[in-house]
Assembly symmetry: C2
Homo-oligomer: 151 residues x 2
């Protein structure tokens, strides 16, 4: 089956930059999801817990930009976390439009218990390249994104 030979050795590393970046994203995501399985948390829930841990009192519209999902997705994401008792939302004392998000005790435990997954994945990436290469990768990703920055 000659067509097989052609695509078995699929040169995915020759594809367009978008496909390369997607492959990177999905690869890292699946790694984290494997570690997350026992906890029942999804990748995005886990990511959100980590952000809220670093920014207690953060709002939905801020989370929207950090997590790179749309606003209504933040709402349903937060509903899920609130139903599991991991976060609470409080009205902002000065500006009635905002609802500030905080981790509950249970939320802090979950965030703390799963926090190291990010470092674990990053550690394996670091093992595959030099420290300078890793830093370069970070910087070039930032540079790539800033090209499209709308502000």
């Amino acid at each position: 089956m000659e067509k097989e030979t052609k695509t078995e050795s699929w040169q995915w590393d020759q594809g367009p930059i978008g496909r390369l970046v997607k492959t990177g994203y999905i690869t890292l995501r699946r790694e984290v999801e494997d570690m997350l399985r026992p906890t029942g948390l999804t990748h995005t829930q886990w990511s959100a817990l980590g952000v809220i841990r670093h920014y207690p009192g953060i709002t939905s519209s801020q989370l929207e930009h950090i997590l790179m999902i749309e606003r209504p997705s933040v709402t349903s994401l937060m509903n899920g976390l609130a139903n599991r008792g991991l976060i609470i939302r409080k009205d902002h004392p000065q500006d009635g439009r905002f609802k500030q998000i905080y981790l509950t005790e249970a939320g802090m435990e979950q965030a703390h218990a799963t926090e190291h997954f990010a470092a674990e994945v990053e550690g394996r990436v670091r093992e595959g390249m030099t420290a300078a290469e890793f830093e370069t990768l970070r910087q070039l990703l930032v540079k790539m994104v800033s090209v499209f920055d709308k502000t």
Copy 2:
């Protein structure tokens, strides 16, 4: 609102590598989606058309690895494209398990008409950095992914 000051200048470029890569992926995806809007094609449909164009006779399980989606997602993706008359599936003459995928005339037109979107996005990325940096970015993404390669 002092918390705002903190997150308005959200240092997303300091986050974990996984978040950085996701930001890159979503950013590029949204750019393509903006261009695709008039065609009614989704990002993944468009990507699939491009792959099938380069690999006529490709199978679902091969597409699965290239597009980085699960097998049943390929099936529903191909159902959608087949319903729109953009692809056809033919039984493999030698191995009855395979179904080979081809673009129809309409599919080729769509693929041809939208093919340049990838180059357009890539062009803007290239404008933001040197040629050497772009090549480095590609190589480091490949290097990152190969760390997790399961084969």
